[in-house]
């Protein structure tokens, strides 16, 4: 038999880190982008192009935003992989795992390129 759990510890570390990051930061992030949808003018002004551009021109903000995106996506990928298995969606685990983690890495890479090019 193949030794089990050889890379599981690494994935679990990323998973739990991502869980903490998304628990801490995702609700306030969603709350901030929602308010404009209720027609609150102050929120729409806060999200004007110039304001968000200048906010993201700070390198520390960029790195934090990228860390939130990357860690949260890896966390979600890990959970989606297990949900695929638990709900008996007929995708073999190696394929589901590869698809989940690679798309999370790909989307994070795209975010990194966009943020670096701002």
């Amino acid at each position: 038999m193949k030794p089990r759990g050889s890379n599981e510890a690494l994935f679990w570390l990323i998973f739990s880190g991502g869980g903490v990051v998304s628990a801490m930061l995702i609700p306030s992030l969603i709350a901030s982008t929602i308010l404009g949808g209720f027609g609150i003018e102050e929120a729409q002004v806060a999200f004007s192009y110039d304001r968000i551009y200048s906010l993201l021109s700070n390198w520390i903000v960029r790195i934090v935003v990228l860390a939130v995106i990357g860690a949260s996506l890896m966390h979600a990928a890990h959970r989606i992989r297990h949900t695929i298995h638990d709900t008996r969606i007929p995708i073999p685990d190696p394929i589901a795992a590869t698809l989940c983690y690679l798309s999370a890495l790909g989307a994070s890479g795209l975010a990194a390129l966009l943020l670096a090019g701002l």
Partner: protein, 153 residues
């Protein structure tokens, strides 16, 4: 499966004396019945676990929307304004409201689970879970205030 010959006699399920005279129960390693694809409909605790796992789908979708926002910002002011109009349109606002509810569910379940994953001992016995959960909520409120202050001030 472990070879029954290699099991210590006292750990054997069939040693009734041992089972009847100690509080120790051997972990049942027999294969469990497969609950099938609809296990999450078998009661509220199963359902909440399923919803907890499902929060990740909503968070992932929201993050894709958020990467879209950064992409629009990258393209230029006109694309950004169009994108924000889309993001604040009624359908996407409704989706964001649901996503916020799911994200809050993730936060609460994650914080409440932390003491089960992180065991801090004080002397011999584990500390009260509240000593771990309460600081998490306090840090969460602080971090959320900083994020909202940075965006809206």
């Amino acid at each position: 499966m472990t070879d029954p010959e290699k099991r210590r006699p006292s750990h054997n399920l069939h040693s009734n004396w041992w089972l009847n005279h100690t509080r120790y129960r051997q972990r049942d390693t027999r294969p469990r019945p497969d609950l099938g694809a609809t296990w999450w409909l078998r009661g509220s605790s199963y359902f909440f676990v399923f919803i907890r796992e499902l929060t990740s789908v909503f968070i992932a979708l929201y993050l894709i929307l958020f990467i879209g926002l950064i992409a629009a910002l990258y393209i230029g002011a006109e694309a950004y304004n169009d994108y924000m109009e889309l993001l604040w349109s009624p359908p996407l606002t409704v989706i964001q409201v649901f996503t916020l509810l799911f994200a809050l569910f993730h936060t609460v379940t994650w914080f409440n689970l932390t003491p089960k994953a992180v065991r801090i001992l004080k002397g011999e016995s584990p500390i009260s879970p509240l000593f771990l959960i309460t600081p998490l909520y306090i840090v969460w409120l602080g971090v959320s205030s900083i994020v909202l202050w940075m965006i809206f001030s």
